[in-house]
Amino acid sequence: MGETLHNVMLLAPEVCITLFLCLLFIVDGLFPSLRSNRFPMILTVVACIASMILTAKVGKTPAAYFGGMVVNDGFTTFFRYLFFFTAAVSSYVAFGSKEVEAKSRIEFSLLLLCVTVGMSLMASASNLLVLYMGIEMVSIISFVMAGFRRDNLRSNEASFKYLVFGGVASALMIYGFSLIYGLTGSLNYSQIAASLIAAQGNVGLITWLALVLIYSGLAYKISAFPMHFWAPDVYEGAPTPITAFFSVGPKAAGFAALLRILLTVFAVKTGDGNWKAVEGLSLTSIIAVISAATMIVGNLSALGQTNVKRILAYSSIAHVGYMLMGLVTLDRSGITAIIFYLIAYCAMNIGAFWVVGVVSNIRGREDLEAFRGIGWSMPVLGTCMAIFIFSLTGIPMFSGFIGKFLIFGSVIKSGGFLWLALLGVLNSVVSLYYYVKILKSMWLDKPETEESLRLPFYHAVGLVGLAIPTIVLGLYFTPILEFAEKTLATLL
């Protein structure tokens, strides 16, 4: 009993979110009038903040609990922070948007909190079944969220597409899990790793097949090549605040799961704090190719787009490519770079989608034409967008540059994948072309009619709140870097 209680205590942040979820239900039942004002949002933000505080409290010593089903280490802690932050910001964005109707705000909050628990589970799972549960929890609720605008055809299409892709990916992944179970007799990460090491390089085709299948499932979550096809349509169709959330939250969760599986199951820690692939599995070249393909596909597809949401959707695929570069060398600096990149990406990408959401609320559409001259009528919005866009391109002074600097640094340091680094920087030149198209619309093109638009204070606060860390992290990132390193050091 004491043991169980202790275990539950370690799960406190997720429990906290769940309790708030129940509270939302109850309050909604008792006071239906509250559902259409800002109350659900406030409750969501409070839930997220409370969970962050709890995360700080429980995250002291790394430990596995519930019989090794889940672990609580620095890695979990980091991703919990990231998820709760993302959820809080997303709900703030959503409540300022017309795309999330007032009458269904409570549903939005409920679904968001649910997904957050699922993401948290994905990051802490150390058992394939728990991981699967986490992924399904995120996926299924995401399908609903994508189709949030029931009366909108695009939104329905997004939901359906997401569902079909998700179903296939899940099926592939669970098949991979079953193969692993058949091979090693366990679903637990550390036991699988032990039997893979014990095989001493005697890795058969089946192991590879299992690896590929598991990768497919996770690639779907992070929208990496070749499982990225759903992303543009889903991102375009879903309400913009939800897109902002999708492009950061579930993606980061996918990265959490991918990193943990790769580093603890298919690789072993070496003495100097780096990792090397389990004997017989030459992972690095494969990751390099996937990373290259992902960023090329993302960037080249974005070039021809005219819908800003689609541009950002493809750009978010390209960013996955950059982040995967950090995995290629399987060393500490690369993974640290990924963690930093996720932080930077979280702020700048939510920010960019947020701007799109605001514009789309005003103009009712999201193509480049809708952005025409909007920088001049709403300078704060335009300046913030410029900051996010330059950061996404990876121009110095902004956090995106530091992310790329760290990633490219880790690749160059290893010396082996210079071509990938070269490809990466060339890709960021290509990406400039489509990013700048957005800025061109906003600033260089003059508005057709003189209109006086005002950016609501509500949005201005939030956008500036995301723009500031984007600049600050670009100029001084030592604390975050140290935090990321600490995060990794305790990876179980």
Binding site: F390, F401, K404, G409, I412, W419, V429, L444, T478
Partner: protein, 504 residues
């Protein structure tokens, strides 16, 4: 110690914030604040000039402290004989350009904010002694430049702006790779440019690229060189230049030609030369050939232009070729000539662009010969004598007439290059450029200013006080440095001498 370089760098940034906070409906207030803000770095620049120690090659006015500890990145600013002429050029031209931009009517606040931001970037590039810091400033400069060309430019501004941005970013990302590479291949890992320049760190190391073992130092050299060459611009990376220079508003063209182009050659002298001397020697011939191509190609292109501004733009390509030739000669005279040419080209081209801007403001076109073949300007010397006089000075300075500044630097460049036996043939070919330069400039002068007056322009107004005011300091510099170049040569002498010991 008073952090004079940082103050000079960040005062414009502060000014930008002030300007953004000013009310939108009072453009004159914005303009005067911008003048006031840029006057401060100018005044400090005068102080720098007066108190700069000319006898030493070491860094002066140094500010150094840790910035990002885990990567050993420092905030390290300082200037030596190579940077101070560029710093002075920057503060002077920015100040004059702010005055020259009085005619900007739309988005005045944004324009001046971007202009001041640009000055921060330029100052930073010339003062930074840490590669990371240098890179940050180098790229920061792109952002205001993109908007300045793209918002306040001419007809094809959008294309010109994106072309400029893409080209420069392409160069920068290669520089980024080299920067990271230098960090990891140096022992101990550092971004400090002076430390990197000590003891030939990258000689003999190799790296595998596409299955080939390649020497690291030469790869670094090529990466850096492309990054800088795009900025210079060295043929064949020059195609952004005519677009950007022509489409940009006058003051921005002045900054582009006067300061930004110099960043390329400055970068080569600051990084390629001291950090990778072996590779530099290896590539000397290559640089020399590119320099000669630049001189001749730029001159021929300039000769073919019908647009006055495009002619001046191509003349920049030609004149930057002299800098390349001087640098590649590895002689004291040559390199001194190159750096002096950087300064002199900054003043004379700035004059030319300002003058083109003056006539464009009045006639709203710049055709020497209109595209349909009919006559553009003609014989306007009769109606605008002051304008013609100043144009003549700028033009003769630019083509290297003895007694004006261009002559000294071009003479030094060729003198230096000729005294290196390897390059004598090249020099003979390259000196044709002087002839061509005289040809296109004088031909232009003849067609625009001399001959019978085109009646269309008989009411052309001569320059007003503000315009004369912006040109007078440059005029004075061009004449004074043409007679007595020592004020600038003295500044850089020791630094260049020390730099060249690496190659002897």
């Amino acid at each position: 110690m008073f952090p004079i370089l940082s103050v000079m760098t960040y005062i414009p940034l502060l000014g930008m914030i002030i300007i953004l906070a000013l009310p939108r409906n009072n453009p004159n207030l914005v303009r005067w604040v911008a003048v006031g803000v840029t006057a401060i770095p100018l005044a400090l620049g005068v102080y720098l000039y007066l108190s700069f120690d000319r006898s030493t090659a070491s860094m002066q006015f140094v500010e150094q402290f840790d910035w990002i500890k885990p990567f050993n990145i420092q905030y390290y600013m300082g200037i030596d004989g190579l940077s101070i002429p560029m710093v002075l050029l920057t503060v002077l031209l920015t100040f004059l350009c702010v005055i020259a931009s009085w005619g900007i009517e739309t988005g005045v606040k944004g324009y001046y904010a971007m202009f001041l931001f640009l000055e921060t970037g330029m100052m930073g590039v010339f003062c930074a002694l840490d590669f990371f810091l240098f890179f940050v400033f180098w790229e920061i400069m792109l952002l205001p430049m993109y908007f300045l060309i793209g918002i306040w430019g001419g007809k094809e501004k959008v294309y010109a702006a994106i072309k400029f941005f893409l080209y420069t970013l392409f160069g920068s990302v290669l520089m980024l790779l080299v920067m990271v590479g230098m960090y990891y291949y140096s022992e101990p890992h550092t971004f400090n440019l002076l430390q990197l320049a000590q003891g030939h760190m990258f000689v003999g190391k190799t790296v595998v690229l596409f299955g080939h073992q390649l020497p690291v130092d030469k790869l670094f050299w090529i990466g850096l060189f492309i990054g800088f060459a795009i900025k210079v611009p060295v043929w064949p990376f020059h195609t952004w230049l005519p677009w950007a220079h022509v489409e940009a508003p006058t003051a921005v063209s002045v900054i582009l030609a006067g300061v930004l182009l110099k960043m390329g050659t400055y970068g080569i002298l600051r990084m390629n030369y001291p950090i990778l001397p072996e590779a530099t020697l290896w590539a000397a011939e290559f640089m020399m050939v590119l320099g000669i191509i630049n001189i001749l190609y730029g001159a021929f292109c300039a000769m073919a232009q019908k647009d006055l501004k495009k002619l001046v733009a191509y003349s920049s390509v030609s004149h930057m070729g002299y800098v390349m030739v001087g640098m590649a000669s590895f002689t004291t005279a040559g390199v001194n000539g190159a750096v002096l040419q950087m300064f002199n080209h900054g003043t004379s081209t700035a004059m030319l662009f300002l003058l083109v801007g003056v006539i464009y403001d009045r006639a709203h076109h710049r055709w020497i010969v209109k595209p349909d073949g009919s006559k553009g300007f003609g014989g306007i010397a009769a109606v605008v004598p002051v304008y013609t006089g100043i144009m003549a000075i700028a033009l003769f300075a630019s083509l290297g007439l003895p007694g004006l500044s261009g002559f000294i630097s071009e003479a030094l460049v060729f003198l230096g290059a000729f005294s290196n036996p390897r390059f004598q043939t090249y020099v003979v070919i390259g000196s044709l450029g002087i002839l061509l330069g005289a040809a296109y400039l004088l031909w232009m002068f003849m067609r625009v200013f001399l001959g019978p007056l085109n009646e269309e322009y008989k009411d052309l107004k001569d320059m007003n006080f503000r315009e004369v005011f912006t040109l007078m300091p440059l005029c004075a510099l061009v004449i004074v440095l043409g007679v007595y170049p020592m004020p600038v040569l003295n500044l850089m002498g020791s630094t260049i001498e020390k730099l060249l010991t690496l190659f002897s």
